[in-house]
């Protein structure tokens, strides 16, 4: 045990490093297959080590501090601190990384000879190691370094398909917005350094330095913008639906499933651990969460690109996590820590749940894309017969993300709901109304997510194939099915075993606030008890549900044992059915989009070509263009960009090219500096 605790983290990082180097070593064109296999294999080993290490930390309740000896500038930079919270996130990241890496071995083969797999392997491992270092970093410099390594590593993964102009431009947008967010973080950390005189997080953790209230709010504001950009909170989300789908599917799973969670992790650090006691920031985060959850799912409904749809659901689920997190911050500030613990458990529980079912969905969507070669859901259909396993895995993910019992999404949504209810009952009036807003948003989000996944599963897997590529689709190999099965089993386990998981996360939360002890062992039928207001026993619910299904199934077999089944065509009203008569993904969600048109502003454009232009009775062809404008670009980003451009043009005037003028500038600057030095 102690060996694992001592070396686990370093070995995990070293395996990633080894994978990266191996990959570069074999990056010549002839040996790329080896490079790809090696890089994914070592990444999987690193993930497995990280998982074992993190579980050891969580279950022993210990804290691991690592200080690597270094000289010069790097002194005191290579410090890592893994407590319960960090271990929880490392476990989440490693679980998904394990599944994604195994999946990647088979998935990447399709790019052999097309794109550079050796280089991919290098950046893939860099990205994974960067995420691990972000979580474990114990000082500002290490954190920012790891944050940038993670961003740059993932940029190259997004832009991997470099002959595809969409992927390249998605990568550009991603790195641009990512750096913009990082700029806010640099500002926040520099201000922190100036105020505390140290980069160490220990100083913040000990609350040794009391910052001026104003400065603290500025730092928290900057940090919130920086982290919200990475998390994809609306309106800072615009990179997310572009970048996540562009990357290979197992990378999408990692980005959507865990990378955006590193921002959640840092938010917990900042708002709960380092600077607790700001109810107002809690409420701001709650509102951001409510908006992101509802709008995220509405945008997802309007998508027919399967990976973009999943990416928008990440925005939605980050919103749900923020509902729990914001509630927790508010509860701690209002002096109701018991409710705060529940809310934080809800947020963390949803974090790991979303990591599991979102990566499962991305991997199974990846299998579909792999089999059909398109991301357009309108060209799918009937895949359940051609890819039965993938269909089961996708359905598991869909049921879980829709929050249906007994899968894991239900438990964390239940906990989030309970936290919001507690707030509605116990907090002062302004906070109450914001909590009510959050509960309302969550209620509608759940229903809309279910609608969206009926659409996604129905359009992809059910009915008849709508194109040739769907007709010729094939099931993925076992190396791709295995990780999906692993994740699917975990989604069920995290639902049914809620009575184990929730107290385990509770332990992490308690240790974060400096309380706690050994982890209580609970029976699977024990209830999660929220102040005696609500109780939940997922194992019992699952048991009742399974018993009900069995009883129904057996009863109907017995009652109708004499009735025979005949296979026939779907009723076609006398004409032969074509795939064009099925409902499409776009058609399915059209009514919801029409209902929410005030928010979404969909546009519709119809054109028709007639046989006889003068009479215009008989149309030769009709075209209907439906589109969803990107309101954030039109009303936020484009004006901001043009503002920057205009001010840059204005600033250009001082650049005349005349040497004398430049000398004058230098002289004036010098004079001003001397004057200011004299005065102070």
């Amino acid at each position: 045990m102690s060996t694992v605790l001592q070396y686990g983290f370093v070995v995990s990082l070293e395996l990633y490093a080894f994978g990266a180097l191996c990959s570069l070593l074999f990056s010549s064109r002839g040996r790329e297959a080896t490079a790809s296999t090696f890089s994914h294999f070592f990444a999987a080993c690193g993930a497995l080590t990280g998982l074992v290490f993190a579980l050891a930390v969580i279950f022993s309740g210990s804290v691991v501090d690592l200080h690597a000896g270094a000289i010069g500038l790097a002194q005191n930079v290579l410090t890592f601190h893994v407590d319960g919270l960090a271990a929880f996130f490392i476990a989440t990241i490693s679980t998904v990384a394990l599944a994604a890496s195994v999946y990647g071995i088979a998935y990447q083969k399709q790019f052999l000879g097309v794109y550079r797999l050796g280089h991919f392997g290098f950046f893939y491992n860099t990205f994974l190691a960067g995420m691990l270092a972000v979580i474990a970093a114990d000082n500002g410099i290490m954190f920012l370094f790891a944050w940038e390594a993670m961003a740059v590593g993932s940029y190259f993964l997004v832009a991997f398909e470099r002959h595809d102009s969409h992927a390249v431009s998605a990568g550009k947008l991603y790195i641009l917005i990512s750096q913009l967010g990082a700029a806010f973080l640099f500002a926040a950390f520099l201000l922190l350094f100036r105020a505390t005189g140290s980069w160490d997080f220990d100083v913040l953790r000990a609350h040794a330095v009391i910052l001026p209230a104003m400065l603290e709010h500025v730092i928290l504001g900057l940090a919130l913008i920086g982290f919200a950009t990475k998390a994809g909170v609306i309106p800072l989300h615009i990179w997310l639906p572009e970048a996540h789908p562009a990357a290979p599917s197992h990378v999408s799973a990692l980005m959507s499933g865990v990378m955006i969670k590193t921002a959640i992790f840092m938010m917990v650090r900042f708002f709960v651990e380092f600077f607790p006691g700001h109810a107002s920031w809690g409420l701001v985060i709650l509102v951001l969460g409510a908006v992101s959850a509802l709008l995220g799912v509405l945008y997802a409904l309007s998508e027919h690109d399967i990976k973009r749809l999943l990416a928008f659901h990440s925005v939605e689920n980050i919103g749900i996590i923020l509902l729990g997190l914001g509630a927790a911050i508010a509860f701690f500030a209002y002096g109701i820590p018991v409710a705060g613990y529940v809310a934080l458990i809800a947020a963390l529980y949803h974090t790991v749940n979303h990591a599991l079912f979102k990566s499962l969905l991305f991997l199974s969507a990846g299998s579909v894309v792999h089999a059909t070669g398109t991301r357009n859901m309108e060209e799918y259909g009937g895949l359940i017969k051609r890819m039965p396993w993938t269909a089961v895995f996708f359905l598991t993910g869909a049921v879980a993300i829709s929050g249906l019992p007994p899968f894991n999404g239900f438990v964390s949504e239940w906990l989030t709901f309970q936290s919001l209810f507690t707030g509605i009952a116990a907090l002062p009036l302004p906070a109450k109304s914001i909590f009510l807003l959050g509960a309302a948003s969550l209620a509608f989000t759940g229903g809309l997510a279910a609608a969206c996944f009926v659409k996604a599963f129905g359009a992809t897997f059910l009915a008849r194939p709508r194109s040739d590529v769907a007709v010729h689709a094939h099931e993925s190999g076992w190396l791709m099915k295995l990780p999906m099965g692993f994740l699917a089993a975990l989604t069920l386990l995290f639902g049914v075993g809620a009575s184990f998981i929730a107290p385990a996360i509770g332990q992490v939360v308690l240790s974060l606030r400096g309380e706690g002890g050994a982890m209580p062992l609970v029976s699977p039928f024990a209830m999660i008890n929220i102040r005696d207001f609500a109780l939940l026993s997922m194992a019992s619910v699952a048991l009742v549900l399974i018993a009900a299904v069995l009883v129904t199934y057996i009863a109907i077999r017995v009652i109708s044992r004499h009735s025979r089944t005949r296979i026939a065509r779907t009723w076609d009203c006398g004409v032969s059915l074509t795939p064009r008569m099925e409902i499409t993904a776009t058609g399915f969600s059209r009514s919801i989009i029409t209902i929410f048109r005030g928010l979404l502003r969909p546009s519709i454009q119809k054109t028709a070509e007639y046989h006889d232009a003068s009479t215009r009775y008989f149309a030769k062809s009709r075209m209907v263009h439906l589109s969803m404008p990107n309101l954030y670009r039109t009303y936020l980003y484009d004006p901001a960009a043009s503002l920057v451009e205009r001010s840059a043009l204005k600033t250009r005037r001082i650049q005349t090219g005349n040497l004398n003028i430049y000398l004058l500038y230098i002289f004036l600057t010098l004079a001003a500096l001397l004057a200011s030095a004299l005065i102070s």
Partner: protein
Amino acid sequence: MEWTFFILNMLTVTALSPLTLGIIRKVKARAQNRSGASVLQPYRDLIKLFHKDEVISADASWIFSAAPVIVFATTLAIASGLPLFSPVPSFIPTGDLLVFVYLIATGAFFLALAGLDTGSGFGGIGSSREMTIAALTEGGLILSLVAVALLTGAANLGIMSAAVSGLSGMALLPLSIAAAAFSIALLAENARYPVDNPATHLELTMVHEAMILEYSGPKLALMEWASASKLLIFVIILGNVFAPWGMTQSLTLPSLGLAFLFFALKALVILAAIALIESGMAKFRFFRVPDLLFTSFVLSVIAILLIVV
């Protein structure tokens, strides 16, 4: 004790649910000056369907066969946690209000998938409409129950029912507003007027019927039975959680019988109201339904604000 309660609940709800349909149809027929079929007709229909052969579309997958079982099983699971004759002062896992709402959503989810599975245009449009309505109903459904939960300090239907009967008169206003919100959710969730027409087979208006259009024989029977059970479940919650008067605390046979009589009376009133709504008004145009559902949502928000402020 708990297990007998579970099983008794499931059996009662399942056995009585076709009767609710029979009663609604009878009242409706009388209101329209017809004599109507016997109230037992739904039972005869079910028996007939269970013994018929069935036709399955060649395009259908296992989802089509699994959906009726899952949909029916969710109603069984929900039924196990309901306060039927006696408010349950102890905790029943399936009686949690969010478990109830999400089990209902599970049923809707698989019903909608089944509608899409055969690739018929009707099924597709029905599923699309069903999920639209279900999504928009969820706000009012959850929050109206939450209003009662906040009023009683418990989120379990049985415990809520026990606590509501002990409330003071002051609580009646928010309770009745929440009940109104829940009633709208009841109509929407059960494909009743003015949201859906349960008797139609006209393409333009079908929602629920469109989804189960491809079903026949035993599977159709299960689907029909499940939707009848769902209606009875909502009636029980409206009658016994929002107005739990007349329920018994003692578990002796005579008092249980009396409690059942009270419940039957409440259920009759609710069913007659549904039937009269169906005879007295026109179905809403589909895009006017959201207004009604948002009304339900706003009503429950008002109820909650009245309680917590």
